[in-house]
């Protein structure tokens, strides 16, 4: 990844936000230090859902406009989104262990994240299994759109499952009213991760362009 003004500022923003999380944000009263994972967890989740939203959008637009750039955007966003979703799935249990007393719990949102992670993994495997560029673009666009349609159904069934089978919850890991200092930290983290996402997306997009150009040059 080439150092660009965007990538440098993204890295700097993440560093500054992390420093603020660790040193300049007070401990949460009941959860203590573990709660600081929340800033990373929530911001990665935001970015991951944003990334998958973009995959769905770019997929739909691709089938309509047949513009190769849209397929590359979907490809780049899926791959970057997978990284952020992996962070969600690792940070969630790490945060949950001291709070819930267990690494994994079938919390509705965590479950949805897990299935999204599987879907996006399948999406990337599908891309890897097709050589023809136009066909790969069409097939992954179809999957991208269907996955976008699937998400509300997974969410709803997991949610219904949870409501009908109440599980003991010690501390609900959402923070509806954060003290302002924590809120500022959270917003900084959101902005920093979003910047990082955009920087990675652009780098990954350029890689896709370079790869396709190299293939053309090789055959010409």
């Amino acid at each position: 990844m080439k150092a660009t003004p965007l990538s440098i500022s993204a890295a700097a923003a993440v560093a500054i936000a992390l420093v603020r999380v660790i040193f300049f944000t007070p401990y949460e009263m009941r959860q203590g230090a573990a709660q600081k994972i929340f800033y990373i967890h929530a911001s990665s989740a935001w970015v991951a859902f944003l990334a998958f939203g973009l995959v769905g959008l770019a997929s739909a637009l691709y089938l309509w406009l047949r513009e190769e750039r849209l397929d590359r955007i979907a490809e780049a966003s899926a791959e970057v989104g997978l990284i952020f979703m992996t962070v969600v799935l690792i940070s969630g249990p790490l945060w949950g262990k001291p709070i819930w007393g267990t690494y994994w719990t079938w919390d509705a949102r965590l479950t949805l994240s897990l299935f999204l992670w599987f879907i996006i993994l399948g999406y990337l495997v599908l891309r890897g299994a097709i050589d023809d560029r136009a066909m790969r673009a069409r097939y992954s666009a179809v999957l991208g759109i269907l996955a976008a349609l699937l998400i509300p159904f997974v969410h709803l069934s997991v949610y219904l499952f949870r409501t009908l089978h109440p599980m003991p919850i010690i501390a609900k890991p959402s923070a509806p009213s954060l003290p302002s200092q924590m809120l500022v930290t959270l917003i900084m983290m959101f902005v920093a991760f979003t910047l990082m996402y955009v920087a990675l997306l652009r780098a990954r997009y350029r890689l896709a362009v370079a790869r396709d150009e190299a293939a053309e040059a090789y055959h010409a």
Binding site: I119, L121, A129, R138, Y139, V142, L146, L160
Partner: protein, 226 residues
């Protein structure tokens, strides 16, 4: 619309004739389902867990996996001698190819279920009683969802390098909102609760079927060679 249905039916009859003549996929799916039902029984401690609590989960897990077995063949027969070219070049709508395949697969999956569900009742000592009909209804709703999504992904997977390896990977996440409601509704019905209590689950199944029958039918033409 009538043409769509007519052509889909012609294709479904053709597929079912082929399946009836070779019976290879049907037999392996039935044997697989029976084996899975038997093996699942020994995966739990029967003194700790009642067979009746186990049955709904086993039923729907077996159902999805055995369904997948038949789906892969669906487009395999079209690719052997490029018969799919003959379909695409003919005057029929491309959507009717998908619907025809899906109808044939639906008959296939329901036929497998018609053996697997009574087998569960037998091996797990269940008495469906009054719940028989509602459970059959749940089974059909679930089969429609599984077959619709599975047929589309089978069309896609059969054109990729990974072929049958890809099908479960793509399909299974889509089966979550089918298996989960179906198993929950079955459990409610088996425990003798009135059918009305399973309603919210059934609504979810119906909504899934409606959305994905439309979406997959419209998406299918994009999976053809262009």
């Amino acid at each position: 619309m009538t043409e769509l249905v007519h052509d889909a039916w012609v294709i479904a009859v053709k597929d079912l004739t082929i399946e009836f003549r070779t019976r290879s996929a049907f037999l392996s799916a039935v044997v697989f389902a029976l084996l899975a039902i038997v093996i699942f029984y020994f995966a739990w401690d029967p003194t700790a867990v009642a067979a009746g609590d186990l049955a709904p989960g086993v039923l729907w897990v077996v159902f999805t996996f055995s369904g997948l077995l038949g789906l892969h063949r669906s487009f395999g027969i079209e690719h052997e001698e490029r018969a799919i070219d003959g379909l695409v070049a003919s005057p029929i709508l491309r959507e009717s190819i998908f619907l025809g395949k899906a109808i044939a697969n639906l008959v296939f999956v329901i036929a497998v279920q018609a053996i697997a569900i009574p087998a569960i009742a037998l091996f797990y000592n269940l008495d469906f009683g009054a719940a028989s009909l509602p459970i059959a209804g749940v089974a059909i709703l679930a089969a429609i969802g599984v077959v619709t999504v599975g047929t589309l992904f089978s069309a896609m997977a059969s054109n990729t390098r990974l072929a049958e390896l890809l099908l479960p990977m793509l399909s299974l996440p889509f089966f979550v909102p089918i298996v989960l409601p179906a198993a929950q509704a079955t459990a409610k019905l088996l425990s003798g609760r009135p059918a009305i209590e399973a309603m919210s689950w059934l609504k979810l199944l119906v909504a899934f079927d409606l959305v994905f029958v439309v979406a997959c039918t419209l998406a299918y033409p994009f999976t053809l060679e262009e």
